[in-house]
Symmetry: C2
């Protein structure tokens, strides 16, 4: 179990982060995700972080970097399920995730990606 699974949902990819990210796992995720974006011609990536109670600057940077990588591959990233404490920490760390869209949950994130206005 050294990989975070990437699930395909139509034109989008869904990644649920449940475990503590260490350097190697984060690198593997970025490799896997960029490959899958190209292979599946994904138009968007949903990163669910609802099970993260705490984040550190490493995870914050990793999310920002992953979103930037997706963007240059023409896929939009939406981070979903962020807990209030995580939002506070990220801003305090100076990692306000510029260019990353956020949504309350996967459903709303999916709506954001499809351009549906059912928010």
């Amino acid at each position: 179990m050294e990989r975070i699974p990437i699930l395909r949902m139509g034109k989008f990819l869904l990644v649920t982060i449940q475990v503590d990210m260490h350097d190697r796992l984060a690198m593997t995720l970025q490799d896997d995700l960029t490959s899958r974006i190209v292979k599946d011609r994904a138009k968007g990536v949903l990163i669910d972080i609802s099970s993260l109670d705490v984040v550190d600057s490493f995870i914050g940077r990793m999310i920002g970097e992953t979103a930037a990588m997706a963007r240059v591959l023409d896929a939009e990233t939406v981070v979903v399920g962020m807990q209030p404490s995580v939002a506070i920490t990220l801003v305090e760390l100076g990692l306000a995730l510029p260019g990353v869209r956020t949504a309350l949950n996967v459903e709303k994130g999916m709506a954001l990606l499809t351009g549906a206005d059912t928010l």
Copy 2:
């Protein structure tokens, strides 16, 4: 991070199992899932086990039990992403998951639940 997140996708719930299940985590998952089925009036549950390389009888039983619980709450369970080695082990353990439907990936599992014949 002592909970496995349950994501809502329309009328269905999605659970991605990425970590080693121990007793307490499995119990928490079953509690959370049954509560969410009732609260969200879910009609189906997708359990993604694509990141599990190995299963033991505990996980096998847990999946079977969870599916049975969902069924009595009127939600259908589809196990998706099972690796060949896991299928072999489950059958060898005598846990052929009766009554549990399976699909290759989340997308196909979702199609199975919605009754779409786009398989």
